[in-house]
Symmetry: C2
Subunit: 128 residues, 2 copies
DNA sequence: TAGCATCTATTACGATTGTAGGTGGACTCA
DNA sequence: TGAGTCCACCTACAATCGTAATAGATGCTA
């Protein structure tokens, strides 16, 4: 499993590390909004599981607390996420885009950005 | 649960019904490619579970076989799917689009279509 | 009508995910 | 150094998903 599948909660934990650098479990837990924050041991369990999946590792120790750091990049994880998502749509982009737009998730600016990115990318590929 | 969460396999089964109208379990099973086709009873189990979730129902009987029909629309299911997906990204579209484009999942045509759809939609909203 | 094919219904099981309790060890501060 | 706090580690458990076997009912065909 070069790119393990991450669940939503696992993603949120990785997010804490991606955004905040190496953290202790307590710190990860506290990145969750008070409202509906999972128990310390819940976060702990997920962190241990992420460790088994090699998504993160113990970087060092402070006192008796372990400090964890991400092993896989946000980008790689998101790529995996997108792939799975597209798989759900049978890989067809069209209904995905339609859905995004109709639900109002996609703004004119988003599309403009997309266009620019596409142009830049095709240019880069031609250059290469 | 007005809009139950559907897994990939469940989606594929619903897809058979959305595309092919009311079907018997055997027919649903046969919509899967021979290669890697799940066992009849596997499909059966999933259909039963979808029935419990009220995603489909028994429409009638032919011989001793039940014919199932979808109760939720493809559109509604996809909406739910997209929502969950965006939730994974914390609701921020930007990284999603970037990911789609960089992975080459999004073509120039897709973006152009999106643009047109957005224009039509904003026009309609203005008209209304 | 006997038998085979087909379906239904029930049951099972491992993996994954979210949830967290309990126990015991380590650290800190008074 | 004793008390309280914090942490690590282990264990548990329910829900969901994918997978399918088994057993019993039904229907078609020779």
């Amino acid at each position: 499993m070069r790119l393990p599948k991450l669940s939503k909660l696992e993603l949120q934990i990785m997010d804490a590390l991606w955004s905040g650098g190496p953290l202790a479990i307590r710190e990860i837990q506290e990145t969750f909004p008070q409202k509906g924050r999972p128990a310390y041991t819940t976060v702990q369990t997920m962190v241990y599981r992420l460790e088994v999946k090699k998504a993160l590792r113990r970087a060092r120790k402070i006192g008796n607390a372990h400090i964890f750091e991400a092993l896989i990049s946000r980008d790689a994880a998101q790529r995996r996420l997108v792939d799975d998502f597209l798989g759900m749509f049978g890989g067809r982009m069209q209904p995905v885009m339609a859905q995004l737009i109709e639900a109002g998730n996609l703004s004119t600016k988003d599309v403009a950005d997309a266009e620019k990115l596409l142009r830049d990318l095709s240019k880069k590929r031609k250059d290469a």
